[in-house]
Subunit: 329 residues, 2 copies
Protein backbone atom coordinates (compact mmCIF):
# COMPACT_ATOMS: atom_id res chain seq x y z
CA UNK A 1 0.00 0.00 0.00
CA UNK A 2 1.65 3.20 -1.13
CA UNK A 3 0.43 6.73 -0.55
CA UNK A 4 1.56 9.98 -2.08
CA UNK A 5 2.30 12.32 0.77
CA UNK A 6 0.84 15.84 0.72
CA UNK A 7 2.93 18.33 -1.19
CA UNK A 8 3.60 21.80 0.19
CA UNK A 9 1.86 23.46 -2.75
CA UNK A 10 -1.34 21.52 -2.01
CA UNK A 11 -1.37 22.76 1.58
CA UNK A 12 -0.57 26.30 0.46
CA UNK A 13 -3.48 26.16 -1.99
CA UNK A 14 -5.77 25.12 0.87
CA UNK A 15 -4.49 28.03 2.98
CA UNK A 16 -5.07 30.47 0.12
CA UNK A 17 -8.60 29.13 -0.26
CA UNK A 18 -9.67 29.62 3.35
CA UNK A 19 -12.45 32.22 3.55
CA UNK A 20 -12.36 35.16 6.00
CA UNK A 21 -14.76 33.26 8.24
CA UNK A 22 -11.87 31.03 9.29
CA UNK A 23 -9.93 32.80 12.02
CA UNK A 24 -6.18 33.26 11.93
CA UNK A 25 -5.95 31.96 15.49
CA UNK A 26 -3.33 33.45 17.79
CA UNK A 27 -0.10 31.76 18.75
CA UNK A 28 0.31 32.72 22.40
CA UNK A 29 3.05 32.34 25.02
CA UNK A 30 2.12 29.86 27.75
CA UNK A 31 5.31 29.90 29.85
CA UNK A 32 8.07 32.20 28.65
CA UNK A 33 11.02 31.41 30.88
CA UNK A 34 11.36 27.85 32.03
CA UNK A 35 14.27 26.55 34.06
CA UNK A 36 16.90 25.47 31.56
CA UNK A 37 15.94 28.18 29.09
CA UNK A 38 12.95 26.50 27.50
CA UNK A 39 9.78 28.30 26.48
CA UNK A 40 6.32 27.10 25.73
CA UNK A 41 3.77 28.42 23.22
CA UNK A 42 0.27 27.45 22.17
CA UNK A 43 -1.38 27.53 18.78
CA UNK A 44 -4.93 28.26 19.91
CA UNK A 45 -7.33 26.43 17.62
CA UNK A 46 -9.67 26.26 20.62
CA UNK A 47 -10.27 29.92 19.70
CA UNK A 48 -11.21 28.95 16.13
CA UNK A 49 -14.80 29.49 15.08
CA UNK A 50 -16.99 26.49 15.98
CA UNK A 51 -14.38 25.78 18.69
CA UNK A 52 -11.90 23.58 16.81
CA UNK A 53 -9.43 23.35 13.92
CA UNK A 54 -11.88 21.24 11.91
CA UNK A 55 -13.36 24.36 10.34
CA UNK A 56 -10.35 24.60 8.05
CA UNK A 57 -10.89 21.13 6.60
CA UNK A 58 -14.67 21.59 6.44
CA UNK A 59 -14.29 24.69 4.27
CA UNK A 60 -11.53 23.16 2.17
CA UNK A 61 -13.59 20.07 1.36
CA UNK A 62 -16.91 21.81 0.78
CA UNK A 63 -15.50 24.68 -1.30
CA UNK A 64 -14.02 22.16 -3.76
CA UNK A 65 -17.35 20.48 -4.56
CA UNK A 66 -18.75 21.04 -8.07
CA UNK A 67 -22.06 22.90 -8.46
CA UNK A 68 -23.81 19.55 -9.07
CA UNK A 69 -22.28 18.05 -5.93
CA UNK A 70 -23.22 21.12 -3.89
CA UNK A 71 -26.82 20.72 -4.94
CA UNK A 72 -26.85 17.07 -3.81
CA UNK A 73 -25.45 17.93 -0.40
CA UNK A 74 -22.56 16.45 1.56
CA UNK A 75 -22.25 14.02 4.45
CA UNK A 76 -19.59 12.86 6.88
CA UNK A 77 -19.32 11.09 10.19
CA UNK A 78 -17.94 12.80 13.26
CA UNK A 79 -17.64 12.54 17.01
CA UNK A 80 -18.61 16.20 17.32
CA UNK A 81 -16.06 18.83 16.36
CA UNK A 82 -15.98 18.03 12.65
CA UNK A 83 -19.75 17.86 12.75
CA UNK A 84 -20.15 21.41 14.06
CA UNK A 85 -17.55 22.78 11.65
CA UNK A 86 -19.08 20.96 8.67
CA UNK A 87 -22.57 22.19 9.52
CA UNK A 88 -21.41 25.76 9.94
CA UNK A 89 -19.29 25.81 6.77
CA UNK A 90 -22.18 24.27 4.84
CA UNK A 91 -24.42 27.07 6.08
CA UNK A 92 -21.97 29.74 4.93
CA UNK A 93 -21.52 28.10 1.50
CA UNK A 94 -25.20 27.20 1.06
CA UNK A 95 -24.54 23.45 0.92
CA UNK A 96 -26.93 21.08 2.75
CA UNK A 97 -25.00 18.92 5.24
CA UNK A 98 -25.71 15.63 6.97
CA UNK A 99 -23.65 14.29 9.86
CA UNK A 100 -23.58 10.68 11.05
CA UNK A 101 -22.98 10.38 14.81
CA UNK A 102 -22.92 7.43 17.16
CA UNK A 103 -25.88 7.17 19.55
CA UNK A 104 -23.55 7.56 22.55
CA UNK A 105 -22.39 11.00 21.39
CA UNK A 106 -22.95 13.62 24.10
CA UNK A 107 -26.30 15.39 23.73
CA UNK A 108 -24.38 18.68 23.89
CA UNK A 109 -22.52 17.89 20.66
CA UNK A 110 -25.58 16.51 18.82
CA UNK A 111 -27.60 19.58 19.76
CA UNK A 112 -24.82 21.94 18.71
CA UNK A 113 -24.53 20.26 15.32
CA UNK A 114 -28.26 20.68 14.71
CA UNK A 115 -28.15 24.30 15.86
CA UNK A 116 -25.41 24.94 13.34
CA UNK A 117 -27.69 23.71 10.60
CA UNK A 118 -26.86 20.08 9.79
CA UNK A 119 -29.17 17.11 9.72
CA UNK A 120 -27.95 14.51 12.24
CA UNK A 121 -28.34 10.79 11.54
CA UNK A 122 -27.57 8.60 14.56
CA UNK A 123 -25.99 5.17 14.11
CA UNK A 124 -25.05 2.35 16.46
CA UNK A 125 -22.14 2.74 18.88
CA UNK A 126 -19.48 1.13 16.77
CA UNK A 127 -16.74 3.09 15.01
CA UNK A 128 -17.21 1.24 11.69
CA UNK A 129 -21.00 1.73 11.79
CA UNK A 130 -20.41 5.38 11.01
CA UNK A 131 -18.85 4.53 7.65
CA UNK A 132 -21.54 1.96 6.82
CA UNK A 133 -24.26 4.51 7.48
CA UNK A 134 -22.44 7.08 5.40
CA UNK A 135 -22.23 4.63 2.51
CA UNK A 136 -25.94 3.90 2.74
CA UNK A 137 -26.84 7.61 2.74
CA UNK A 138 -24.66 8.14 -0.29
CA UNK A 139 -26.30 5.25 -2.17
CA UNK A 140 -29.90 6.05 -1.17
CA UNK A 141 -29.88 9.85 -1.23
CA UNK A 142 -27.04 10.72 -3.55
CA UNK A 143 -25.16 12.66 -0.87
CA UNK A 144 -21.44 13.27 -1.43
CA UNK A 145 -19.87 11.20 1.33
CA UNK A 146 -16.62 12.56 2.72
CA UNK A 147 -14.25 9.94 4.12
CA UNK A 148 -12.61 12.13 6.76
CA UNK A 149 -9.90 9.52 7.38
CA UNK A 150 -8.60 9.34 3.82
CA UNK A 151 -9.68 12.56 2.10
CA UNK A 152 -6.70 14.50 0.79
CA UNK A 153 -8.47 17.87 1.00
CA UNK A 154 -9.24 17.23 4.67
CA UNK A 155 -5.55 16.68 5.41
CA UNK A 156 -4.60 19.79 3.42
CA UNK A 157 -7.06 21.81 5.51
CA UNK A 158 -5.43 20.51 8.69
CA UNK A 159 -2.02 21.33 7.25
CA UNK A 160 -2.85 25.04 7.16
CA UNK A 161 -2.38 25.05 10.96
CA UNK A 162 1.23 23.97 10.43
CA UNK A 163 1.90 26.82 7.99
CA UNK A 164 0.59 29.35 10.52
CA UNK A 165 2.71 27.93 13.35
CA UNK A 166 5.84 28.45 11.24
CA UNK A 167 4.78 31.97 10.23
CA UNK A 168 4.21 33.03 13.84
CA UNK A 169 7.02 31.10 15.52
CA UNK A 170 9.69 30.48 12.87
CA UNK A 171 12.30 29.32 15.38
CA UNK A 172 10.08 26.68 17.01
CA UNK A 173 11.96 23.43 17.67
CA UNK A 174 9.25 20.98 18.75
CA UNK A 175 5.54 20.84 17.85
CA UNK A 176 3.12 18.62 19.80
CA UNK A 177 -0.12 17.54 18.13
CA UNK A 178 -3.13 15.58 19.50
CA UNK A 179 -3.86 12.31 17.67
CA UNK A 180 -7.05 10.39 16.92
CA UNK A 181 -7.29 9.36 13.23
CA UNK A 182 -3.86 10.97 12.84
CA UNK A 183 -5.15 13.41 10.22
CA UNK A 184 -4.21 16.58 12.10
CA UNK A 185 -0.75 15.24 12.92
CA UNK A 186 -0.26 14.22 9.27
CA UNK A 187 -1.30 17.57 7.85
CA UNK A 188 0.73 19.60 10.33
CA UNK A 189 3.80 17.40 9.88
CA UNK A 190 3.56 17.61 6.07
CA UNK A 191 3.55 21.42 6.21
CA UNK A 192 6.27 21.77 8.82
CA UNK A 193 8.66 19.11 7.58
CA UNK A 194 8.49 20.42 4.02
CA UNK A 195 9.63 23.84 5.17
CA UNK A 196 11.88 23.02 8.16
CA UNK A 197 12.85 19.34 8.30
CA UNK A 198 14.86 19.85 11.50
CA UNK A 199 11.73 20.62 13.58
CA UNK A 200 10.51 17.69 15.68
CA UNK A 201 6.81 16.96 15.16
CA UNK A 202 5.39 14.68 17.85
CA UNK A 203 1.94 13.14 18.28
CA UNK A 204 0.21 12.72 21.64
CA UNK A 205 -2.52 10.17 22.41
CA UNK A 206 -4.41 9.39 25.61
CA UNK A 207 -3.60 6.04 27.22
CA UNK A 208 -7.30 5.21 26.86
CA UNK A 209 -6.97 5.28 23.07
CA UNK A 210 -3.51 4.21 21.96
CA UNK A 211 -4.54 3.03 18.48
CA UNK A 212 -2.05 5.12 16.50
CA UNK A 213 0.75 4.45 19.00
CA UNK A 214 0.08 0.71 18.54
CA UNK A 215 -0.04 1.12 14.78
CA UNK A 216 3.37 2.77 14.80
CA UNK A 217 4.73 -0.15 16.87
CA UNK A 218 3.14 -2.64 14.45
CA UNK A 219 4.36 -0.81 11.37
CA UNK A 220 0.84 -0.71 9.90
CA UNK A 221 -2.58 0.72 10.83
CA UNK A 222 -4.21 -1.51 13.43
CA UNK A 223 -7.60 -1.29 15.13
CA UNK A 224 -8.26 -1.57 18.83
CA UNK A 225 -11.57 -3.04 20.01
CA UNK A 226 -12.69 -0.05 22.08
CA UNK A 227 -11.52 3.19 23.67
CA UNK A 228 -11.94 4.44 27.24
CA UNK A 229 -10.76 8.01 27.38
CA UNK A 230 -11.93 11.34 28.80
CA UNK A 231 -11.02 12.81 25.39
CA UNK A 232 -14.34 12.59 23.57
CA UNK A 233 -12.74 14.10 20.47
CA UNK A 234 -10.05 11.38 20.28
CA UNK A 235 -12.13 8.25 19.80
CA UNK A 236 -10.99 6.79 16.51
CA UNK A 237 -10.18 3.11 17.04
CA UNK A 238 -7.67 3.17 14.19
CA UNK A 239 -5.63 5.73 12.24
CA UNK A 240 -6.47 6.50 8.65
CA UNK A 241 -4.22 4.90 6.03
CA UNK A 242 -3.22 8.19 4.43
CA UNK A 243 -2.53 9.86 7.81
CA UNK A 244 -0.58 6.82 8.95
CA UNK A 245 1.71 6.96 5.90
CA UNK A 246 2.59 10.55 6.84
CA UNK A 247 3.14 9.66 10.48
CA UNK A 248 5.51 6.82 9.59
CA UNK A 249 7.47 9.04 7.24
CA UNK A 250 7.55 12.37 9.05
CA UNK A 251 6.86 12.14 12.77
CA UNK A 252 9.39 11.72 15.59
CA UNK A 253 7.05 9.58 17.66
CA UNK A 254 3.73 9.25 19.46
CA UNK A 255 3.61 9.86 23.22
CA UNK A 256 0.96 8.41 25.53
CA UNK A 257 -0.45 10.41 28.45
CA UNK A 258 -2.49 9.25 31.42
CA UNK A 259 -6.18 10.09 31.67
CA UNK A 260 -5.87 11.77 35.09
CA UNK A 261 -2.99 13.87 33.78
CA UNK A 262 -5.22 15.08 30.95
CA UNK A 263 -7.86 16.20 33.47
CA UNK A 264 -5.22 18.20 35.35
CA UNK A 265 -3.95 19.67 32.07
CA UNK A 266 -7.45 21.03 31.35
CA UNK A 267 -7.47 22.54 34.83
CA UNK A 268 -3.99 24.05 34.40
CA UNK A 269 -4.97 25.62 31.10
CA UNK A 270 -8.06 27.23 32.66
CA UNK A 271 -6.40 28.29 35.90
CA UNK A 272 -2.97 29.37 34.70
CA UNK A 273 -3.31 30.07 30.99
CA UNK A 274 -6.93 31.35 31.17
CA UNK A 275 -7.84 29.20 28.16
CA UNK A 276 -10.73 26.78 27.89
CA UNK A 277 -9.42 23.68 26.17
CA UNK A 278 -11.24 20.38 25.84
CA UNK A 279 -9.43 17.25 27.09
CA UNK A 280 -8.53 16.06 23.59
CA UNK A 281 -6.98 19.46 22.93
CA UNK A 282 -4.98 19.45 26.15
CA UNK A 283 -2.97 16.22 25.71
CA UNK A 284 0.19 18.11 24.72
CA UNK A 285 0.13 20.01 28.01
CA UNK A 286 -0.45 16.73 29.85
CA UNK A 287 2.64 15.27 28.17
CA UNK A 288 4.91 18.12 29.27
CA UNK A 289 3.72 18.62 32.85
CA UNK A 290 5.50 19.03 35.18
CA UNK A 291 7.71 21.19 32.99
CA UNK A 292 10.81 20.40 35.03
CA UNK A 293 10.44 16.70 34.28
CA UNK A 294 10.02 17.08 30.53
CA UNK A 295 13.33 16.39 28.78
CA UNK A 296 11.74 17.45 25.50
CA UNK A 297 11.34 20.95 26.90
CA UNK A 298 14.82 21.52 28.31
CA UNK A 299 16.23 24.64 26.71
CA UNK A 300 13.93 24.39 23.69
CA UNK A 301 11.13 26.36 22.10
CA UNK A 302 8.05 24.15 22.10
CA UNK A 303 4.63 24.76 20.55
CA UNK A 304 1.58 22.83 21.72
CA UNK A 305 -1.37 22.66 19.38
CA UNK A 306 -4.53 23.26 21.43
CA UNK A 307 -6.87 21.70 18.91
CA UNK A 308 -10.29 22.47 20.39
CA UNK A 309 -12.30 23.87 23.26
CA UNK A 310 -15.70 22.22 23.04
CA UNK A 311 -16.72 20.98 26.46
CA UNK A 312 -20.12 21.55 28.04
CA UNK A 313 -19.79 24.04 30.93
CA UNK A 314 -21.17 21.50 33.41
CA UNK A 315 -18.59 18.97 32.27
CA UNK A 316 -15.82 21.55 32.47
CA UNK A 317 -16.92 22.24 36.06
CA UNK A 318 -16.38 18.53 36.81
CA UNK A 319 -12.87 18.72 35.36
CA UNK A 320 -12.09 21.82 37.45
CA UNK A 321 -13.15 20.27 40.73
CA UNK A 322 -11.81 16.76 40.19
CA UNK A 323 -9.10 15.85 42.78
CA UNK A 324 -5.64 15.22 41.30
CA UNK A 325 -5.17 11.61 40.28
CA UNK A 326 -8.88 10.96 39.74
CA UNK A 327 -11.28 11.19 36.80
CA UNK A 328 -14.57 13.10 36.69
CA UNK A 329 -17.68 10.95 37.08
CA UNK B 1 -10.07 70.66 42.93
CA UNK B 2 -8.29 70.67 39.60
CA UNK B 3 -6.30 67.82 38.08
CA UNK B 4 -3.99 67.79 35.11
CA UNK B 5 -5.15 65.02 32.84
CA UNK B 6 -2.63 62.51 31.50
CA UNK B 7 -0.86 63.63 28.36
CA UNK B 8 -0.35 61.26 25.45
CA UNK B 9 3.45 61.55 25.71
CA UNK B 10 3.31 60.36 29.34
CA UNK B 11 1.37 57.24 28.35
CA UNK B 12 3.68 56.62 25.41
CA UNK B 13 6.67 56.86 27.74
CA UNK B 14 5.07 54.23 29.99
CA UNK B 15 4.49 51.98 26.97
CA UNK B 16 8.11 52.40 25.84
CA UNK B 17 9.25 51.50 29.35
CA UNK B 18 7.37 48.21 29.63
CA UNK B 19 9.82 45.31 29.86
CA UNK B 20 9.55 42.17 27.70
CA UNK B 21 8.00 40.36 30.65
CA UNK B 22 4.77 42.28 30.02
CA UNK B 23 2.86 40.50 27.28
CA UNK B 24 1.48 42.26 24.23
CA UNK B 25 -1.89 40.62 24.80
CA UNK B 26 -3.95 39.65 21.76
CA UNK B 27 -6.98 41.52 20.53
CA UNK B 28 -9.30 38.75 19.40
CA UNK B 29 -12.62 38.58 17.57
CA UNK B 30 -15.49 37.48 19.81
CA UNK B 31 -18.42 37.70 17.37
CA UNK B 32 -17.57 38.78 13.84
CA UNK B 33 -20.91 39.21 12.14
CA UNK B 34 -23.77 40.40 14.26
CA UNK B 35 -27.22 41.18 12.93
CA UNK B 36 -27.15 44.81 11.89
CA UNK B 37 -23.50 44.61 10.81
CA UNK B 38 -21.90 45.01 14.23
CA UNK B 39 -18.80 43.15 15.34
CA UNK B 40 -17.34 42.47 18.72
CA UNK B 41 -13.69 42.18 19.80
CA UNK B 42 -11.88 41.58 23.05
CA UNK B 43 -8.62 43.00 24.36
CA UNK B 44 -7.48 40.00 26.39
CA UNK B 45 -5.70 41.25 29.49
CA UNK B 46 -6.92 38.08 31.18
CA UNK B 47 -4.09 36.53 29.15
CA UNK B 48 -1.57 38.98 30.63
CA UNK B 49 1.09 37.55 32.94
CA UNK B 50 -0.19 37.34 36.54
CA UNK B 51 -3.68 37.21 35.03
CA UNK B 52 -4.57 40.90 34.80
CA UNK B 53 -3.70 44.30 33.28
CA UNK B 54 -2.25 45.46 36.61
CA UNK B 55 1.19 44.17 35.62
CA UNK B 56 1.64 47.20 33.35
CA UNK B 57 1.12 49.67 36.19
CA UNK B 58 3.16 47.59 38.64
CA UNK B 59 6.19 47.69 36.35
CA UNK B 60 5.67 51.36 35.46
CA UNK B 61 5.58 52.42 39.11
CA UNK B 62 8.39 50.20 40.37
CA UNK B 63 10.76 50.90 37.47
CA UNK B 64 10.57 54.64 38.22
CA UNK B 65 11.76 54.32 41.83
CA UNK B 66 15.21 55.70 42.62
CA UNK B 67 17.96 53.33 43.78
CA UNK B 68 17.44 54.56 47.37
CA UNK B 69 13.67 53.94 47.15
CA UNK B 70 14.21 50.50 45.62
CA UNK B 71 16.39 49.55 48.58
CA UNK B 72 13.68 50.63 51.05
CA UNK B 73 11.02 48.56 49.30
CA UNK B 74 7.52 49.47 48.11
CA UNK B 75 4.01 48.88 49.42
CA UNK B 76 0.45 49.20 48.15
CA UNK B 77 -2.99 47.97 49.04
CA UNK B 78 -4.94 45.70 46.70
CA UNK B 79 -7.93 43.41 46.50
CA UNK B 80 -5.79 40.83 44.70
CA UNK B 81 -4.86 41.47 41.10
CA UNK B 82 -2.63 44.46 41.74
CA UNK B 83 -1.11 42.52 44.63
CA UNK B 84 -0.02 39.61 42.42
CA UNK B 85 1.28 41.93 39.70
CA UNK B 86 3.18 44.10 42.18
CA UNK B 87 4.76 41.09 43.85
CA UNK B 88 5.81 39.58 40.54
CA UNK B 89 7.19 42.82 39.10
CA UNK B 90 9.08 43.42 42.36
CA UNK B 91 10.66 40.00 42.03
CA UNK B 92 11.79 40.68 38.46
CA UNK B 93 13.21 44.11 39.41
CA UNK B 94 14.70 42.96 42.72
CA UNK B 95 12.54 45.32 44.81
CA UNK B 96 11.03 44.02 48.09
CA UNK B 97 7.24 44.41 48.05
CA UNK B 98 4.58 44.54 50.73
CA UNK B 99 0.85 44.31 50.02
CA UNK B 100 -1.94 45.37 52.37
CA UNK B 101 -5.09 43.27 51.97
CA UNK B 102 -8.37 43.20 53.84
CA UNK B 103 -8.92 40.16 56.06
CA UNK B 104 -11.93 39.12 53.98
CA UNK B 105 -9.80 38.75 50.84
CA UNK B 106 -10.16 35.26 49.35
CA UNK B 107 -7.47 32.89 50.63
CA UNK B 108 -6.73 32.07 46.96
CA UNK B 109 -5.61 35.64 46.29
CA UNK B 110 -3.63 36.03 49.53
CA UNK B 111 -1.81 32.77 48.87
CA UNK B 112 -1.07 33.73 45.28
CA UNK B 113 0.41 37.06 46.35
CA UNK B 114 2.72 35.33 48.82
CA UNK B 115 3.73 32.75 46.23
CA UNK B 116 4.68 35.57 43.88
CA UNK B 117 7.04 36.89 46.51
CA UNK B 118 5.36 39.74 48.40
CA UNK B 119 4.89 40.12 52.13
CA UNK B 120 1.15 40.34 52.90
CA UNK B 121 -0.12 42.53 55.76
CA UNK B 122 -3.80 41.97 56.54
CA UNK B 123 -5.97 44.87 57.77
CA UNK B 124 -9.57 45.18 58.91
CA UNK B 125 -12.42 44.82 56.42
CA UNK B 126 -12.92 48.47 55.65
CA UNK B 127 -11.83 50.10 52.39
CA UNK B 128 -10.18 53.08 54.14
CA UNK B 129 -8.32 50.80 56.58
CA UNK B 130 -6.10 49.77 53.69
CA UNK B 131 -4.79 53.32 53.28
CA UNK B 132 -4.33 53.81 57.04
CA UNK B 133 -2.26 50.63 57.24
CA UNK B 134 -0.22 51.69 54.25
CA UNK B 135 0.52 55.04 55.89
CA UNK B 136 1.61 53.33 59.08
CA UNK B 137 3.96 50.96 57.22
CA UNK B 138 5.46 53.89 55.39
CA UNK B 139 6.07 55.81 58.64
CA UNK B 140 7.34 52.86 60.68
CA UNK B 141 9.37 50.96 58.08
CA UNK B 142 10.24 53.58 55.51
CA UNK B 143 8.47 51.73 52.69
CA UNK B 144 7.54 53.73 49.59
CA UNK B 145 3.74 53.71 49.74
CA UNK B 146 2.00 53.75 46.37
CA UNK B 147 -1.45 55.35 46.38
CA UNK B 148 -2.95 53.28 43.58
CA UNK B 149 -5.97 55.59 43.36
CA UNK B 150 -4.06 58.79 42.69
CA UNK B 151 -0.66 57.78 41.37
CA UNK B 152 -0.02 59.24 37.92
CA UNK B 153 2.39 56.45 36.91
CA UNK B 154 -0.26 53.85 37.74
CA UNK B 155 -2.73 55.53 35.39
CA UNK B 156 -0.08 55.82 32.66
CA UNK B 157 0.57 52.08 32.98
CA UNK B 158 -3.16 51.40 32.55
CA UNK B 159 -3.20 53.74 29.55
CA UNK B 160 -0.82 51.48 27.63
CA UNK B 161 -3.79 49.11 27.12
CA UNK B 162 -5.58 51.90 25.25
CA UNK B 163 -2.63 52.46 22.92
CA UNK B 164 -2.55 48.76 22.02
CA UNK B 165 -6.29 48.64 21.34
CA UNK B 166 -5.88 51.44 18.79
CA UNK B 167 -2.84 49.80 17.20
CA UNK B 168 -4.65 46.49 16.73
CA UNK B 169 -8.14 47.77 15.92
CA UNK B 170 -7.73 51.29 14.53
CA UNK B 171 -11.32 51.54 13.32
CA UNK B 172 -12.90 50.61 16.66
CA UNK B 173 -15.91 52.78 17.49
CA UNK B 174 -16.78 51.89 21.07
CA UNK B 175 -14.53 50.64 23.91
CA UNK B 176 -16.04 49.17 27.10
CA UNK B 177 -13.94 49.18 30.28
CA UNK B 178 -14.63 47.68 33.75
CA UNK B 179 -14.69 50.22 36.61
CA UNK B 180 -13.72 50.06 40.27
CA UNK B 181 -11.48 53.00 41.30
CA UNK B 182 -11.88 54.24 37.72
CA UNK B 183 -8.13 54.12 37.11
CA UNK B 184 -8.24 51.70 34.18
CA UNK B 185 -11.07 53.60 32.55
CA UNK B 186 -9.20 56.89 33.04
CA UNK B 187 -5.93 55.63 31.57
CA UNK B 188 -7.58 53.93 28.59
CA UNK B 189 -9.78 56.96 27.89
CA UNK B 190 -6.79 59.34 28.08
CA UNK B 191 -4.89 57.31 25.48
CA UNK B 192 -7.80 56.74 23.14
CA UNK B 193 -9.38 60.20 23.27
CA UNK B 194 -6.02 61.89 22.66
CA UNK B 195 -5.57 59.93 19.44
CA UNK B 196 -9.17 59.47 18.24
CA UNK B 197 -11.63 61.76 20.03
CA UNK B 198 -14.59 60.34 18.07
CA UNK B 199 -14.30 56.90 19.74
CA UNK B 200 -16.82 56.32 22.54
CA UNK B 201 -15.18 55.12 25.75
CA UNK B 202 -17.69 53.69 28.22
CA UNK B 203 -17.28 52.41 31.78
CA UNK B 204 -19.18 49.41 33.17
CA UNK B 205 -19.85 48.75 36.88
CA UNK B 206 -21.74 45.98 38.64
CA UNK B 207 -25.02 47.01 40.27
CA UNK B 208 -23.55 45.76 43.55
CA UNK B 209 -20.90 48.49 43.42
CA UNK B 210 -22.19 51.59 41.68
CA UNK B 211 -19.82 54.06 43.38
CA UNK B 212 -18.40 55.64 40.23
CA UNK B 213 -21.81 55.72 38.54
CA UNK B 214 -23.15 57.59 41.60
CA UNK B 215 -20.15 59.91 41.57
CA UNK B 216 -20.82 60.79 37.96
CA UNK B 217 -24.46 61.58 38.87
CA UNK B 218 -23.31 63.69 41.82
CA UNK B 219 -20.66 65.52 39.84
CA UNK B 220 -17.96 64.65 42.40
CA UNK B 221 -16.36 61.51 43.86
CA UNK B 222 -18.68 60.02 46.46
CA UNK B 223 -18.27 56.98 48.72
CA UNK B 224 -20.83 54.24 49.21
CA UNK B 225 -20.97 52.45 52.58
CA UNK B 226 -20.42 48.93 51.26
CA UNK B 227 -20.40 46.80 48.15
CA UNK B 228 -22.15 43.49 47.42
CA UNK B 229 -20.92 42.18 44.12
CA UNK B 230 -19.68 38.91 42.64
CA UNK B 231 -16.84 40.96 41.14
CA UNK B 232 -14.15 40.59 43.79
CA UNK B 233 -11.81 42.79 41.73
CA UNK B 234 -14.29 45.70 41.64
CA UNK B 235 -14.67 46.55 45.31
CA UNK B 236 -13.55 50.16 45.62
CA UNK B 237 -16.24 52.09 47.51
CA UNK B 238 -15.25 55.32 45.77
CA UNK B 239 -13.41 56.40 42.63
CA UNK B 240 -10.01 58.05 42.87
CA UNK B 241 -9.95 61.82 42.42
CA UNK B 242 -7.50 61.76 39.52
CA UNK B 243 -9.38 58.94 37.73
CA UNK B 244 -12.69 60.74 38.34
CA UNK B 245 -11.43 63.93 36.71
CA UNK B 246 -10.60 61.91 33.58
CA UNK B 247 -13.95 60.14 33.63
CA UNK B 248 -15.87 63.43 33.86
CA UNK B 249 -13.86 64.93 31.02
CA UNK B 250 -13.47 62.03 28.62
CA UNK B 251 -15.97 59.25 29.12
CA UNK B 252 -19.38 58.85 27.44
CA UNK B 253 -20.97 57.29 30.51
CA UNK B 254 -20.97 54.51 33.07
CA UNK B 255 -23.32 51.56 32.58
CA UNK B 256 -24.58 49.34 35.39
CA UNK B 257 -25.02 45.59 34.93
CA UNK B 258 -26.88 43.07 37.07
CA UNK B 259 -24.97 40.56 39.18
CA UNK B 260 -26.73 37.52 37.67
CA UNK B 261 -25.95 38.84 34.18
CA UNK B 262 -22.27 39.00 35.11
CA UNK B 263 -22.33 35.34 36.16
CA UNK B 264 -23.83 34.40 32.79
CA UNK B 265 -21.24 36.56 30.99
CA UNK B 266 -18.45 34.55 32.67
CA UNK B 267 -20.18 31.39 31.48
CA UNK B 268 -20.64 32.73 27.94
CA UNK B 269 -16.97 33.67 27.73
CA UNK B 270 -15.90 30.18 28.83
CA UNK B 271 -18.44 28.29 26.73
CA UNK B 272 -18.54 30.34 23.54
CA UNK B 273 -15.31 32.35 23.48
CA UNK B 274 -13.17 29.69 25.24
CA UNK B 275 -11.68 32.36 27.49
CA UNK B 276 -11.49 32.26 31.26
CA UNK B 277 -12.41 35.72 32.51
CA UNK B 278 -13.10 36.68 36.11
CA UNK B 279 -16.44 38.36 36.87
CA UNK B 280 -14.93 41.84 37.18
CA UNK B 281 -13.37 41.37 33.75
CA UNK B 282 -16.61 40.19 32.16
CA UNK B 283 -18.88 43.19 32.93
CA UNK B 284 -18.58 44.55 29.37
CA UNK B 285 -19.94 41.29 27.98
CA UNK B 286 -22.74 41.39 30.56
CA UNK B 287 -23.66 44.90 29.37
CA UNK B 288 -23.97 43.87 25.72
CA UNK B 289 -25.77 40.54 26.09
CA UNK B 290 -28.06 39.67 24.43
CA UNK B 291 -26.32 41.22 21.42
CA UNK B 292 -29.61 41.83 19.61
CA UNK B 293 -30.84 44.04 22.47
CA UNK B 294 -27.71 46.20 22.66
CA UNK B 295 -28.28 49.46 20.78
CA UNK B 296 -24.64 50.37 21.36
CA UNK B 297 -23.64 47.41 19.21
CA UNK B 298 -25.93 47.96 16.22
CA UNK B 299 -23.75 48.22 13.13
CA UNK B 300 -20.66 49.21 15.11
CA UNK B 301 -17.23 47.83 15.88
CA UNK B 302 -17.01 47.36 19.63
CA UNK B 303 -14.04 46.32 21.79
CA UNK B 304 -14.54 44.91 25.27
CA UNK B 305 -11.61 45.07 27.64
CA UNK B 306 -11.38 41.73 29.45
CA UNK B 307 -9.31 43.03 32.33
CA UNK B 308 -8.47 39.86 34.23
CA UNK B 309 -8.92 36.13 34.62
CA UNK B 310 -8.09 35.34 38.23
CA UNK B 311 -10.78 33.11 39.65
CA UNK B 312 -10.12 29.96 41.66
CA UNK B 313 -11.07 26.88 39.59
CA UNK B 314 -13.58 25.74 42.22
CA UNK B 315 -15.24 29.16 42.13
CA UNK B 316 -15.28 29.14 38.33
CA UNK B 317 -17.03 25.76 38.52
CA UNK B 318 -19.76 27.42 40.62
CA UNK B 319 -20.17 30.14 38.00
CA UNK B 320 -20.40 27.54 35.22
CA UNK B 321 -23.13 25.53 36.91
CA UNK B 322 -25.17 28.39 38.34
CA UNK B 323 -28.74 28.48 36.89
CA UNK B 324 -29.53 31.62 34.84
CA UNK B 325 -30.90 34.41 37.02
CA UNK B 326 -29.17 33.19 40.19
CA UNK B 327 -25.85 33.82 41.92
CA UNK B 328 -23.30 31.20 43.02
CA UNK B 329 -23.34 30.38 46.73
Amino acid sequence: MSHDLLRLDEIRAAAAGLPPQVRRTPLLPLVEELAGGGSLYAKCENLQRTGSYKLRAAFTVLARLSPAERARGAALSSSGNFAAAFAWAGGVLGIPTTVVMMKKTQAYKVERTREMGARVVLCEDRFEARFETLKRLSAQEGLVAIDHLEDRSVLCGHGTVGLEILQDLPDVEVVLVPVSTGGLLAGVAAAIKALRPQIEVVGVQPEGNDSTWRSLQAGRPVSIPEVHTVCDALTSTRPGNLPFAHIQALVSGIELVGEAEIVQAVRWLADSAKLMVEPGGAVGVAHLRPWTAAPRLAGRKVCILLSGGNLAPERLADFLTCPPGTLPA
